[in-house]
C-alpha cells in the first residue's frame, strides 16, 4: 500500500477550479518535489492535503495509508501523520514556542493513545532538535513566530516537523527567504528526517534546494495539472529552460507514471 495516493483530485477555491485533476502516488521512504509557476496550485495542493476547509474538493480521491484523507478534519489528518510546513507561518501571540510544541505533540500522542509527555521528558528531546536546526534557544521561550525573522519562521517549521515526526511531510517553499547558511541547515534537518517510514512532498521554485535534498521524483504543476514528471534531473532542466517549454507540451504529455 502506498503512503499517499491522489486520484483525479479536482479542487475549487472561491469559485475557481484551481486543481484540475491531479494524480500522484508517494510511497514511504520517497521524496517527491513539486515545482511550477506562481499560481499554478502548489500551495492549494498542500493545503488540501492538510485538510484546510476553505478549499472545496469537487472530485477525486485521496488515500493516506489506505484511509480516506478527504474525510478527515485538519487535526485528524495531523494526528494521522500529515504535516505541512507553511509557506507563510502564522503568529500566535502570548503562547511560547516550547509550550506550543509540547501541546501539539501531546495532542497527537493522546490521539494515538500514548501517554502525554511531561516537561521533564519533553525538554531534553526538544533541545536536541533545536540544536539540530542550529536555532537560538531563546527563541523557544518567545511567542510562536511573533517577531521572528522570515528565515527563523521557516526554520521553526522544520523544527516542528522534527518534533512531531510525521509520516508525510509537506514542505511548502520552505527554502524561500532563507540565506545560504540557513538553507544548508534546513536541508540538514530535512535530510536527517528522511527515513524509509516517511514520505515527503517538497514544494519549491529552486533547483538550489534540490542539490541538498535530492528528490526521487520531480513533478511540474502547470495550471492545476501535473504537466510533467521525471527524476531529479528534471529540476536541472527546468532551471535551465524555465517553464515555457513545458507549457506548450502540457496538454499533450501524459504524466510520467509515479
Amino acid at each position: 500500500m502506498s503512503l499517499l495516493e491522489i486520484k483525479n483530485l479536482r479542487v475549487r477555491v472561491a469559485g475557481h477550479e484551481i486543481l484540475k485533476g491531479i494524480d500522484l502516488t508517494i510511497d514511504s521512504g520517497e521524496v517527491h518535489s513539486i515545482m511550477g509557476p506562481n499560481g499554478s496550485g502548489k500551495s492549494t495542493l498542500a493545503q488540501v492535503l492538510a485538510r484546510r476547509e476553505t478549499y472545496q474538493v469537487i472530485d477525486g480521491e485521496v488515500l493516506f495509508n489506505g484511509k480516506d484523507l478527504l474525510a478527515m478534519k485538519p487535526e485528524e489528518a495531523a494526528c494521522e501523520g500529515v504535516f505541512m510546513a507553511f509557506q507563510y507561518p502564522v503568529e500566535i501571540p502570548g503562547i511560547s514556542n516550547t509550550y506550543f510544541m509540547r501541546s501539539a505533540l501531546n495532542a497527537m500522542r493522546k490521539y494515538r493513545n500514548q501517554d502525554e509527555m511531561d516537561a521533564m521528558d519533553f525538554l531534553p528531546m526538544f533541545r536536541e532538535k533545536v540544536k539540530l536546526l542550529e536555532m537560538d534557544e531563546k527563541l523557544m521561550s518567545r511567542s510562536v513566530n511573533e517577531g521572528f525573522s522570515g528565515g527563523e519562521k521557516k526554520r521553526n517549521e522544520i523544527l516542528q516537523m522534527a518534533v512531531l515526526e510525521p509520516k508525510l511531510a509537506i514542505l511548502d517553499e520552505t527554502d524561500s527567504g532563507l540565506d545560504i547558511d540557513a538553507l544548508r541547515i534546513v536541508a540538514k534537518g530535512v535530510n536527517a528526517m528522511r527515513s524509509k517510514d516517511r514520505g515527503m512532498l517538497v514544494v519549491t521554485h529552486y533547483q538550489r534546494l534540490l542539490n541538498y535534498i535530492v528528490p526521487d521524483r520531480v513533478h511540474v504543476l502547470v495550471d492545476g495539472r501535473i504537466a510533467r514528471s521525471g527524476g531529479s534531473e528534471l529540476a536541472l532542466e527546468l532551471e535551465e529552460k524555465g517553464y515555457g517549454w513545458i507549457d506548450g507540451e502540457a496538454q499533450a504529455t501524459v504524466p510520467a507514471s509515479t
Binding site: 492538510a50 484546510r52 476547509e53 476553505t54 478534519k73 485538519p74 487535526e75 489528518a77 495531523a78 494526528c79 504535516f83 505541512m84 507553511f86 507561518p89 502564522v90 500566535i92 501571540p93 502570548g94 503562547i95 506550543f100 501541546s103 501539539a104 505533540l105 495532542a107 497527537m108 490521539y111 511567542s143 516542528q160 512531531l164
Partner: protein
Amino acid sequence: MSTNVNTIRELAERDYKWGFVTAVEEERVPRGLNEDIIRLISAKKREPQFMLEWRLKAFQYWASLEASQAEPKWANIKYAPIDYQDIVYYSAPKKKPGLQSLDELDPEILRTYEKLGIPLAEQKMLAGVAVDAVFDSVSVATTFKEKLAELGVIFCPFSEAVEKYPELVKRYLGSVVPYTDNFFAALNAAVFSDGSFVYVPEGVRCPLELSTYFRINAAETGQFERTLIVADRGAYVSYLEGCTAPIRDENQLHAAVVELVALDDAQIKYSTVQNWYPGDKQGRGGIYNFVTKRGKCAGVNSKISWTQVETGSAITWKYPSCILQGDNSAGEFYSVALTNNYQQADTGTKMIHLGKNTSSTVVSKGISAGHGQNTYRGLVKILKGASRARNYTQCDSLLIGDQCGAHTFPYIEVKNASARMEHEASTSKIGEDQLFYLQQRGLKTEDAVSMIVNGFCKQVFRELPMEFAVEAQKLLSVSLEGSVG
C-alpha cells in the same frame, strides 16, 4: 465542515456547571425596600446606632435618586427596568445559635462549597488560602482566623467587624466610596448585609492569600455585599474574590461595593474571578452585576493593583478604580472580560492622579463571542497638583465570530502639563489562518481557540496568583466552548 458543526453543537449545549441550588432553610425579610426593611436588616444584625443611621441616610439618598430616575443610563448596556420593590433584600441560611466552628455549619452549605472546590476545610491548609464564604447575604465561615490573629491581621465577616472593631469600621466605611457616589453604591450602603473586612497592621506582610467566595443561592433575592480592606503603613495583602450562582430564569441583582485603603508604603493586590451565572444561550436569566470598586492610595509610595477576570453575569457594570493621592503612589488595572451568547459588559477603570510622581497602568483585554457586547470604558485624570504623573493604557479586543461587538471609550483629562501618557489599542479577530495553523499541529478546534485566547490574555493572567491563573484559564475555555462555528 459538517463534522465540526456537530462537535460544536455538543459543546455549545454543555451548561453552566455551577448552576445547582442548595436546599437549605433560609430566613428572609419581606420583599421590597423601605425604611422598615432597613431597620429590620440592621436589627437582625444587632448593629450599633451609627450603622443604622448611616444606612438610613444612604437609603434616603437612594430613594431621592430613584424618584428622579437617576439610575445610571450612560453605560453601553441594555436591560429592562428593574423593579426595586420586587426584590428580597436579605436572605440568610437559618443557623443554629452560637456557631463555633466549621463542623457546625449546615452540611448542605459545606457540600456546596465542596462542589465549588473552595478550600474551606482546614485540611486544605497547604493551599495557603484563608477563605471567607458569603452565602446569599451572610458570611458563613472564615478559615485560618487564629493563624492570622497571631500577626494582628483581622479577616472576618463585615458584620463581625462592626461588632468587634467599630472604630476601624467607622473610620474607613464610606471613606473611599461614599453612599452618595452613585445609585448602586447608595443602594448597597442602605441594604448591604455582609461581606468581608480586612485590616493588616503596620509593617505586616500577610502571609496567606485572603479569599472570599460569594454564592447567591436563594431565588428572588439580591446580593449586596460590602468589602473593606485597610493596609496600614508598610503592610501588604493579596486578596482574591470568586463567585457563582444557580441557574434561574429571572435576573438577579448583585450590587456590591469594595473599598480599599492603602496607607504609606502599603500595597494591596485585589484579584477577582467573576463567574456569576451569565444567562442561557438565548439571554434569559443571569446576574446583573453592578459593582462599585475603588481603592485609595492614601499614603506615599502606596500601591493598589486590581486584576479581574470577568466571565460571568448577564450584565457587568464595573470600574475598579484607584485614587492616587499619596506622592509616588501607583495604581494598576489588569482586566480580562469575556462576553459570549447575549452577555454584555461595560467595564474598565478610573485612575485619578492627585499626588506627585504617581503612575498608573491599565491593561484591558476584551473578548467577545456569540452576540456578546464588550465595552471598555476608562478614565485617566491627571489633576493640577499631580506633577510628573505617568499613565500607560493598553486596550485590546478580540472578536470571535461576526455577530459580537467590541467598543472602547477612553477618556483622558490632563490638567498638568508634565504628565506622560501612553495609549495603545488594538482589535483583532481570531483568524481562520491561526485556527488552521493550530489544527494542522493536531489541536482540536476548541483547544485551538482556547490557546489563542489564553495567549491574548497572558499579560493579565500572569498578574494572578498561580492557582487562580490556572482556574481562570479553565474558566475561559469553558465559557468559550461552542463559540467558533
